[in-house]
Amino acid sequence: MTTESNEPKSRYLQHLEIITGPLEDKKRWRQYKARVKQLPENYRIAVEALERYLMHFGPADGAGAMAMYGDLAELFEQSAADGTPIRDIFGDDPVEFAEAFMANYPLGQYRARERHRFASAIERAAGENPDREDRTKR
């Protein structure tokens, strides 16, 4: 579901968005929330529980996150229309489903930073890439 326009942004909007973050993302977020509100109650409760999990471990913001929430709304609208039982959507292990779903989108900033830090530390410990700045040795 694409909602962003391809028109170039005005200077004013560019400056405003430095403060607010991209306005398209906010619009897409509101659209997502409105779609969730339309769902039957048990589907809505399930999506909101998943949303909370994704907020912690998934991409926090940006276009990647908005694509994720759009896909999420689509899945639950379809499931509600088909009458798919909640348990059939999530399977025995909801966490496993959430992780598989999340893996399709960019990592959250926190996770991305820690993964990078971890991989770089191992690189240094393994004696690779010695040109890299290293504050842990000598």
Binding site: D71, Q78, S79, D82, T84, F90, F97, F101
Partner: protein, 109 residues
């Protein structure tokens, strides 16, 4: 379906779905129904949806939106040339794995 099958399915579900789509286009619900028919009863609908999102992102399928009587339009997935190439690679890997495992089993007798 046992825990072991669930674990093994994780690495092969993508290939299974691509193979299914090589036969004919299908939408998400049809794919899940087919898997259930084949005895993969524990596969979550959401997991299939996530997989379809992934193979679409990776460009293995073409997607056509078809209007539905209830709910949002359905996405019908069909395997494209890139998907076929990937599926061929999958079968090669599968043959390798299956042959090695069979060898191990015979050696273990």
């Amino acid at each position: 379906m046992g825990k072991q099958l669930t674990e093994m399915l994780k690495g092969t579900l993508e290939g299974i779905v691509l193979a299914l789509l090589s036969g004919r286009p299908a939408y998400g619900y049809e794919i899940t129904a087919w898997l259930r028919d084949q005895g993969f009863t524990d596969v979550a609908e959401g997991t299939i949806y996530a997989l379809l999102v992934r193979i679409e992102q990776r460009g293995f399928v073409d997607v056509e939106k078809v209007r539905s009587e209830k709910g949002p339009p359905r996405k019908v997935y069909s395997l494209n040339a890139q998907g076929r190439e990937y599926l061929e690679e999958f079968w090669k890997t599968w043959s390798f794995l299956a042959a090695r495992l069979e060898q191990l089993r015979e050696g273990g007798k």
